[in-house]
Symmetry: C2
Subunit: 234 residues, 2 copies
């Protein structure tokens, strides 16, 4: 499998793509990227369930497994989230465009998000990972970090599994700007918190490599500012 | 590679283990587990840096890459975190033991955590993933979820990469119970928030499969409580 691959064509059943999960770990990680432009074509439920099943292999605090995953395919529910997304995007999108002035990479990202906002109802599947129960009885930011640290590792497994099977996916939070409204749309009890949305579908474009800061720019040894690993480029 | 594998013996240099990163994605996920009991033996810096390099491939909100990773090897700094861990564990550990009464699996986990607390100084490497900058200007829980959603996907990549190369690792937050103290120990500016600690070392025991709720128990279709996927077991 090469980095610039198109979405699988022809048979897109679970049986046809399940073996792609044996993609080398390093390849899945190095070619993972947000794929926002997807086709309206149906996605086999079994593929989505397998992605979630692998999400469940991620760690949770004290192995609490205090999560629920809502799979959204109903056009009316998608339309409600689309309306919420557009409301939030009117504010944050224009802010983003102002900040991105002159930054071509960021402009491209904003263009892809704009496509997603405009075509949200056409996306075949949304997965909404939720946390169940209150934050732990820990002090301040420790409670918050431990809380979200029990859902986002699973979201990353979900994204990597989607990528391996050739499915486009991304990680967004804006349609959930109103927790009250999001709970109402999904009929969630007050104890269940929707954390993010992973829209999924067969990609319109290609996967591709991502650009990241080099590791030497973000690693410190023992004390902040100690760049002991220099530009070893390991 | 089988599920019940021991830590690699003999040559544990980066060159000797780097090819393990081509482990099938699904195998890395299905055999990932918290490995808390590790040997004091040195871990090649290049292995740790490669794990962090792959962590950087994970998504961040608006591709902000607003992260820093502190690698701790200095015995004095480890001892300071050990003291913090013990302080927090005196309270939460005894609470945990009370809650785990009669639950054999949880007792086993608590035993492994106790080992980690008692031997924290002996763990060769701690990685401390940090978020830089304030939360976004989003409403309430959206801001918090988006914030931590920009670090924990990378932590999961770090854990999967460690697992693939045969390194034991786990995800903990308790030694950071005092943000003030943690910042002081690592010399972090006020704008840099330590989110969790990943202690790493060559495993004493074996990897093994994890037990998780079946996917049918955590998936709902369109509306909370709608178990449309039943026990399809996909």
């Amino acid at each position: 499998m090469t980095i610039n691959e198109r979405a699988p064509e022809g048979d897109r059943s679970f049986d046809a793509v399940r073996d792609r999960l044996s993609m080398p770990l390093v390849e899945a990680m190095e070619t993972q990227r947000a794929v926002r432009k997807v086709l309206p074509d149906e996605v086999d439920d079994a593929i989505v369930l397998r992605c979630i099943e692998l999400a469940l292999k991620a760690p949770t605090g004290s192995n609490g497994q205090n999560w629920e995953f809502i799979v959204v395919k109903d056009p009316e529910i998608k339309a409600e989230f689309a309306a919420q997304y557009r409301r939030a995007w009117r504010l944050y999108g224009s802010l983003g465009h102002r900040l991105a002035r002159g930054d071509e990479t960021m402009k491209k990202v904003l263009g892809a998000v704009q496509w997603q906002v405009d075509n949200f109802e056409q996306i075949p599947v949304l997965v909404v990972p939720c946390l169940v129960g209150p934050q732990r009885f820990y002090p301040g930011s420790l409670a918050r970090s431990s809380h979200y640290g029990s859902i986002y590792p699973s979201v990353q497994n979900l994204l990597l599994a989607a990528r391996a099977m050739g499915l486009g996916a991304s990680l967004i939070t804006l349609p959930l700007w109103s927790g009250y409204k999001a709970r109402k749309i999904l009929n969630l009890p007050a104890t269940v918190q929707p954390c993010c949305i992973v829209p999924m579908g067969w990609p319109r474009g290609r996967y591709g490599p991502t650009t990241r800061k080099p590791v030497s720019k973000v690693v410190h040894l023992d004390s902040y500012g100690n760049r002991a690993f220099g530009d070893s480029g390991a």
